[in-house]
């Protein structure tokens, strides 16, 4: 069963060097409360799996700027000048991924798959050191599963069973990451004592370990 905790309590699950998945696309649907608490600690050397490294002063971007991320597995760093600076200076490892391949790797990690085959990246740097497998006369790259110690995701709506639902374009990676991590923490804007309408649930509560009352979220 899902447990209700505060963001400060959530920080006690973290250790140096863990692999973290954090949901969100730039600022949209990006959890921030646990990140703000992490910034108050000495914890560091995390491997970040996320769509992007945000902006310098928002959500995931703040972890980069605080020097807490040793490696970022993301599709885009261009909106955070600090990630670019650290990368060019050789102070952070950045493993850039095509966004759709990143999404499928996260899915594979949570779905018990040994990887996925995609035509994306064939003939580019992305294919370096990866296996190419031919199916039906066409070449595909083998992209391996991703797994995390902890996932921190945003949800617009949650119920006391841990079920999650989303408004607008906030579902992005938040809907994919919960099955792919050992510990799943969801920051939800509206938590209801009544069950959510089962027809509208996007993430089943069995994937969610901890719920944080997220309050208002999001800026444009």
């Amino acid at each position: 069963m899902v447990k209700f905790i505060s963001a400060a309590e959530a920080v006690t699950f973290f250790q140096n060097g863990q692999t973290l998945m954090i949901g969100g696309f730039l600022n949209c649907g990006s959890p921030e409360l646990v990140i703000n608490e992490l910034l108050k600690t000495d914890l560091k050397d995390f491997i970040l799996i996320a769509n992007d490294t945000g902006e310098a002063n928002t959500n995931r971007g703040k972890l980069i700027c605080a020097g807490k991320i040793k490696k970022a597995i993301v599709s885009h760093i261009g909106t955070n000048a600090e990630t670019v600076r650290l990368y060019n200076a050789g102070k952070i490892e950045v493993d850039l991924q095509p966004q759709g391949s990143l999404a499928e790797r996260v899915r594979a990690g949570g779905a018990g798959l040994g990887g996925i085959l995609t035509p994306v990246g064939i003939g580019t740097k992305v294919a370096e050191n990866k296996r190419i497998i031919e199916v039906g006369g066409k070449e595909y790259l083998l992209e391996t599963p991703l797994h995390a110690d902890i996932a921190v995701v945003y949800a617009t709506y949650a119920d006391r069973f841990g079920n999650l639902a989303f408004h607008g374009s906030t579902r992005n990676f938040n809907a994919l990451m919960p099955p792919a991590a050992d510990i799943v923490i969801a920051e939800a804007e509206y938590i209801s004592d009544e069950p959510l309408n089962p027809d509208n649930i996007v993430v089943p509560g069995i994937y969610v370990d901890y719920l944080i009352n997220g309050g208002a979220n999001g800026t444009i």
């Binding site: 696309f25 730039l26 600022n27 949209c28 649907g29 769509n51 992007d52 993301v74 599709s75 885009h76 760093i77 261009g78 909106t79 670019v84 990368y87 060019n88 950045v94 850039l96 991924q97 095509p98 966004q99 759709g100 391949s101 999404a103 499928e104 899915r107 995609t118 035509p119 994306v120 990246g121 064939i122 003939g123 580019t124 740097k125 992305v126 617009t156 989303f166 408004h167 607008g168 374009s169 906030t170 579902r171 992005n172 990676f173 938040n174 809907a175 994919l176 996007v202 979220n217 999001g218 800026t219 444009i220």
Partner: protein, 216 residues
């Protein structure tokens, strides 16, 4: 004739708008490609997909419809058109990779005579990352590169791209403020010359060879 930056962009956006057909499902890159929408004729309605998970992107939000949870891939607040819906990142990219997007318009750092595209990395200088571009160009039915013809005077239309590639042999058409090229199996074909340019100007600012097939 020397065009201002804004005139260059408007010229390209106007020409890109003519590529869009009623009912097309389209993905348009941030910046210049997105500008094409404002030049669409009244009777042409397209369904815009945004990689962050919006199908049926409307217009930019204003003070009457502000909602921080609906954005485009650039992070700007947008509205959802009637009949539109939201997608998670898996569905969004399945749509692209699976061949369900009719037309894609993207910018480029370089494009070449073999239809190769480079738009995510200048080694050692500028590496924003590929974002969704690689998935998008692999799956789309039609790929149009819309870009300024040169970068600070240097050609961007190459014999062979020198920058890291986004995808191989995927570009169908190149639209700049000077010209429209098609990518054929034997190389580039010049199809249109902009009123602001000339054959001499295009030859001088294009690094790739091309044959000429202008409409009569």
């Amino acid at each position: 004739m020397e065009l201002s930056k804004e005139q260059i962009q408007d010229t390209i956006a106007r020409r890109v708008a003519k590529e869009l057909r009623n009912g097309d499902v389209a993905t348009l890159g941030i910046g210049l490609p997105t500008k094409a929408v404002k030049y669409l004729p009244q009777d042409i309605n397209i369904i815009i997909q945004s990689e962050n998970g919006v199908l049926g992107v409307g217009c930019y939000q204003d003070e009457n419809n502000r909602d921080c949870h609906i954005t485009n891939a650039g992070g700007f607040g947008v509205t959802l058109n009637l009949g539109g819906c939201f997608l998670d990142s898996l569905m969004s990219f399945s749509m692209m990779r699976g061949g369900h997007i009719d037309i894609t318009v993207l910018g480029a750092l370089q494009v070449d005579a073999e239809g190769n595209l480079a738009n995510w990395c200048i080694p050692g200088k500028y590496t924003p990352g590929m974002g969704g571009a690689m998935d998008l160009v692999v799956g789309t039915k039609k790929l149009i590169v819309a870009m300024e013809h040169t970068a600070k005077g240097a050609p961007k239309i190459m014999k062979k791209c020198t920058l890291p590639l986004t995808a191989v042999h995927r570009v169908n058409r190149i639209i700049t403020e000077k010209a429209v090229f098609d990518v054929a199996s034997d190389g580039l074909v010049l199809k249109e010359i902009s009123p602001y340019s000339s054959i001499e100007d295009i030859c001088a600012s294009t690094a790739a060879d091309f044959r000429i097939e202008l409409p009569q």
